[in-house]
Every structure is written in structure tokens, then in C-alpha cells.
């Protein structure tokens, strides 16, 4: 199980670092570049920190990270579970007295939780740096950018990110595993199971995001 957990973290987190960092950089650069220009027209550049923290760090970052993990790892989990079911491996595990949920689902869930939480922290870090680059290209000094962002950024944003990582990661593993293991008819059902798993996870992640907004405010 430890091997499955390590493989899950390697595939879900390590191999996704480049993509998450790239998208975080682009997103933060676009949002901050546009915001500086628009806010500058009204002399409200000091609100840049609110946009950075609330829009990028608190909402879009976790959402985008979770969507990346769903598209990369959620599909893989659902397809793997469905294949395990179709190949009779789940039945074989049960026949050996091994709980397939403990053996197959639990390490993937732990791996997804660790991975999503870690990737969210990475996303936030890259977004902050990229946001500075965008601000600097629009003439803002590092000290001012830092002061504006730190004024809005709080400890709540850090733990909220980690809590979201736990819930979003668990959602990816649970929904994709559930739909993968629900396959009965045969190999032709595998793509449908993957689709169902991904759609269910995306819906769950958006609902959870809304719930977090309500809780956090």
C-alpha cells in the first residue's frame, strides 16, 4: 500500500508541478496586469492585494489546482479502478480476504489529499511571485506590492488552502474510485466510468468551493 501511496503522490503531485506552476504564473500575471490597469484608472491600486488574495489565492488557485488533478489523476484513478473491476482483480482481492477499499482506494485517497494540498501551496507561491512580476512590469515596486498583498493575506488563507486541499483531494479519489469500481458490464464501460467520475468530481469541487465561501465568510 505504501508503494501505491508513493506512486500516487509521484504521479499526482510531482509530475504535475510544471503544469500547476505554469498555469499559476499565467493566471496571476493576467489577473494582476489587468487589475493594475483598471484599478489605476480609479486610483484604487491598493485594492490589488484583495484581488490577489481573494480571487487568486483563496478561490481560483484551489479550484484550478483541483481541476488539473482531476484531469490528470482523477481520470487515471477511475480508469484503473474500472480496469481492476473488469479484470476480476477486485473479486480476487475480496476472495483473499483483503478489503479492496483499503487496498485500492485508501492509498489513492491519501495520495490525492497530500498531492492536492501540496500543489495548492505551490500554486499560491508561484502566483504571488508571478503577481509581483506583473506588478513590476506596470511600474510597482516590490516593497509596495509586498505591503499591499500582506495587508490582505492572513493565516486564515493558509489553513483554508490546506483544508480545501484535503477536501478536494479526497473528492478526486472518492468520486473517481467509486465510479471506476461501479463498472459491471465490461471494458466498453470504462470510458463512461471515467467520464462519470470526472464530472461528479468537478461538480463536487464547485459545490465544496461554494460551501467554503459560506463557511469562511
Amino acid at each position: 500500500m505504501l508503494r501505491v501511496l508513493i506512486n500516487q503522490i509521484r504521479f499526482t503531485a510531482l509530475q504535475a508541478i510544471g503544469l500547476v506552476a505554469f498555469l499559476a504564473a499565467i493566471l496571476a500575471f493576467l489577473v494582476i496586469s489587468q487589475s493594475i490597469r483598471q484599478l489605476g484608472r480609479f486610483g484604487a491600486v491598493d485594492n490589488l492585494g484583495t484581488i490577489m488574495v481573494v480571487a487568486v489565492i483563496r478561490e481560483l488557485g484551489p479550484l484550478l489546482t483541483a481541476l488539473i488533478v482531476v484531469s490528470r489523476s482523477g481520470t487515471a484513478i477511475a480508469a484503473e479502478m474500472a480496469t481492476n473491476r473488469v479484470m476480476g482483480e477486485v473479486t480476487a482481492l475480496e476472495a483473499m480476504g483483503i478489503d479492496p477499499y483499503i487496498y485500492l482506494v485508501l492509498p489513492r485517497m491519501l495520495g490525492a489529499i497530500v498531492s492536492v494540498a501540496t500543489l495548492m501551496v505551490l500554486f499560491d507561491g508561484v502566483a504571488l511571485v508571478s503577481g509581483y512580476v506583473a506588478a513590476a512590469t506596470n511600474g510597482m515596486a516590490l516593497s509596495r506590492y509586498t505591503a499591499i498583498v500582506l495587508k490582505t493575506l492572513s493565516a486564515k488563507d493558509v489553513w483554508l488552502t490546506l483544508v480545501k486541499g484535503v477536501f478536494f483531494g479526497a473528492s478526486v479519489a472518492v468520486f473517481c474510485s467509486y465510479h471506476g469500481l461501479a463498472v459491471k458490464a465490461g471494458p466498453t464501460e470504462i470510458p463512461q466510468a471515467v467520464t462519470r467520475g470526472v464530472v461528479a468530481t468537478i461538480v463536487a469541487i464547485f459545490i465544496l468551493s461554494a460551501v467554503f465561501v459560506v463557511i469562511a465568510t
Partner: protein
Amino acid sequence: MTASRISIVLGPGVTEIAGALPLVYRDVDLLGRAGRPDRRFFLSVEPGEVVAAIGDEASGVEALGGLALGLAAPATGSVEVFGVPITLLPYYDLLTFRRRLGYLPQGDGLLQNLTLKDNVALPVRFATDHRLREVEARVAQLIDDFRLRTIAGLRPAQASEEDRRRAAMARAVALNPKLVVLELPFVGLTSRAASDLLDKVSRADDGQRRAVLLTSRDLTPSVRGLVTRTVRVVDGVAVEDKK
């Protein structure tokens, strides 16, 4: 089932009746036709007996393995394993109980993302509380017994059908069960390999014969010599029972 008859407590709610037969099918409907009471299956497997249930695809023999392991519930009648009505056990008690049984599913049921060695090790690692050293020793013994040494590092897809079957059978007896159920174990094997594997599977670690129920379409002469009883199944009923 009175308390005095329960001799061994295997876990919460899981029991074994002292002196009970390894496997009993009683009044079982193999083909899902509840309205045909004349088409019911009866079979008991004695300790140390190697019973071959022979029949074609429509006979219902393919249902026997799943019923014995509690993977499926009979529409009528009951299946008792060591005196325990297996389908009545709660899920987690059933998982614990199955560790006393060996099972070769149709095909082989090997996990494709594990090597043959890891497949053999699976029940020892996850269904026992053995220490790592004990697990390694048991797996090494099984690998040697089933002549898997040179191909132990291969994945199932890289191995031949015979090697996959060897690994699956090694896995089935990894916990030294008193009863082994084999579903179509000889498909695609030479008669020599089939008799070799059946001989290995039917011997417990202490050299005693263990109870084996195997299902097959037919038996080759070399395998027939190792089978102590042959039951021919037609249309869900045992029509011939030869010792």
C-alpha cells in the same frame, strides 16, 4: 448453531463448527431457476478430498466457486464452509473468514500492476500479521515450490499462461488453507503442467492432503489420477458422482 458446537472463534462473529465438512452445497439453484425444485445441486467435499465438478458452460459449474467463497449468494438453498453458512456472514467477517480458503478465479485474477512475486505475496502481506521477514520467507518458499524463481519479477502480461497460473495457484495456497477452490484451472495448460499444479495445490504445508474443489470442462488422464471424486453436472444438477 448452539454455543457448545462452536469450537473455534476466528474473529468477531466468525465461527467454525468442529468436525464440519469443508464444503457443502445443499439444495442450491445454480442456474437461477427458482421455479424448478427438481434442478437443485447437492455436493459435499470431505477433508483431504480432491473433487472435480465437470460440466459445460450451461451446466452451472462456473457458479460453484463464487458460491463457495460467498462472492455470490444462492437463490435457493445454502452453501456451508466448515459448517458456516458463508453467505450469512457480515462483509468484514466474510473477508476474515475467506483467509482460511484458497481460491483461483477463472482466468487468474492476478493484479496486473504487480509482479508475479508481489501477487504471490499479496495475501501474506495484507491478510496476516506476519513480520516482514516472515512474509519474505513464506513468499520465497512459495516461489520455489511453484518454480517461479526466474520469472518472479515479471508482470502478469509479460508471463506465459502457465506461469501466470502457477503464480495464481501459489497465491491461492499462500495462507495454507484447508480448502482450495479452483475455477477452470487447467485451461490452456499442458496435461503435465496441470497435474503438477494440482499435486502441489492439493498438498498442505504439513504434507497432508487438503480439500480441493475444482471446476472443469473435462479432465485429462494425468489429472484424473489425482482427483479422488468426479461429479458431472448437467443443467444445474449432479448427475454422476464417481469415486
